[in-house]
Subunit: 256 residues, 2 copies
């Protein structure tokens, strides 16, 4: 019996950003339950496992959470090694904490494996360091998704002095802009909006806080995307402008 559930972060999309521990979990898996946002390419590490798609996306047809819970429990009780593969990291907007708790309450052994979160990988691929001495002494990751009923204090977020990385914000750009402006953030604060972070078809739209909703619309920005808001989002841009003498506010970069 190797009954166990691994809650594994598959990283942001680039299959090379999988950790060695995630690869080991996949090798050991009898059953792999895979989220929508996970790149199928990582399944090369579990050729013999049974693969079950259990996608969940806001606004689309999706697998209910309770069903996912019961499925994990059923396979674990059959003595199977189950890998639940999530985009990014299981404990950063990944429900890893909830699922681990639910399974452990039912006597199932759970092991969590960290993954690279999309906000970090997307920013890095755009040459944006999330922290930078003299510019940003920290970074805040938040979700704009409203199914989470905990409160965000946008005024505090606007004034914290950290780089702001917002997940699941594409449908709420106008609202985010209004909240941050009302909270005292400068209208010309640089913004990078990054679609399909770390994948070959990553696209990137540069803007600022006041113009981001319009620029995203013109760019046809689509989910999944992350927003990076703060001075770091313009640091490399400014170097490029200094070097090439040109400026731009919104453009796409293919296969960075």
């Amino acid at each position: 019996m190797n009954a166990k559930v691994w809650l594994v972060g598959a990283g942001p999309g680039d299959p090379e950003l999988l950790t060695l521990k995630a690869v080991r979990a996949l090798h050991e898996a009898d059953v792999v339950m895979i989220d929508d946002l996970v790149n199928d390419a990582v399944l090369e590490h579990c050729p013999a496992a049974r693969v079950i798609p259990v996608g969940k996306r806001g606004g689309c047809r999706s697998t209910p959470q309770a069903f996912i819970h019961r499925l994990m429990l059923r396979y674990a009780r059959q003595g199977k090694c189950v890998v639940r593969l999530k985009g990014g990291d299981p404990c950063i907007f990944g429900r890893g904490g909830e699922e681990a708790q639910w399974l452990r309450e039912r006597g199932v052994e759970v092991e969590l494996v960290n993954g690279i979160t999309a906000g970090l990988a997307g920013a890095t691929q755009c040459d944006i360091p999330l922290t930078l001495r003299g510019v940003a002494r920290g970074v805040t990751l938040v979700t704009a998704h409203t199914q989470d009923d905990s409160q965000l204090n946008w005024q505090a977020l606007a004034q914290g002095g950290t780089t702001l990385v917002i997940y699941m914000g594409v449908a709420k750009l106008g609202e985010i802009r209004d909240q941050l402006l009302a909270g005292g953030m400068a209208a010309d604060t640089p913004v990078a909006m990054i679609e399909n972070a770390s994948l070959a078809h990553q696209r990137e739209c540069r803007s600022d806080l006041s113009a981001m909703a319009e620029d995203a619309s013109a760019f046809e920005l689509k989910s999944p995307a992350i927003l990076v808001i703060g001075a770091v989002a313009a640091v490399v841009e400014e170097q490029k402008i200094a070097a090439f003498g040109s400026s731009c506010t919104a453009y796409g970069v293919q296969a960075l």
Copy 2:
């Protein structure tokens, strides 16, 4: 000629948390420049490379940053493939942004590889989800290190509603406590202090905001350690107390 500098995150310590891309970079390396906090075990992936320790630690004898810059440049100009191996992620308190900029200005090709940051791995090993629906809709990572002259707004951090993860804070626990209390954070806000995150000798001290400095002192908490401040730090604790009917404020957990 494969002249190039890879700025690679080696993760928090557990060598299995290295990414596949980091392993590839190590395989290609002629020269590996390794930071203090990187676990030597990852060097198994570059048996033929020349390994140069370039440790930097606050308060200790360390390698000057300018020397590290020049060394990377010299090897790259000799046509060598250089891997600069950093603890955690190169762009989260890792100076990756600065080093990439400096090298690119001198015509050197640079590639950044993300790593799992210590705050995330340490929390996960203690069963603390950094975000949790209904409890914390985001997470803020900040450094308490004063060599960074950018400003932190502690009042905003105290009120943002995100889980707070503080790096390099062991020597400043009293100051952090005072700032957060003055900013309006509740005195009984749960705190987990995690030494040597993700390593076999990880140790963990649970406390709350008002008592954390005294509890850390009694626990003999040492650097490197991260602080996790927020309601998520008590969620699993509360479950354990509910299950076993006992309570505790500070204890050590070996080899989690």
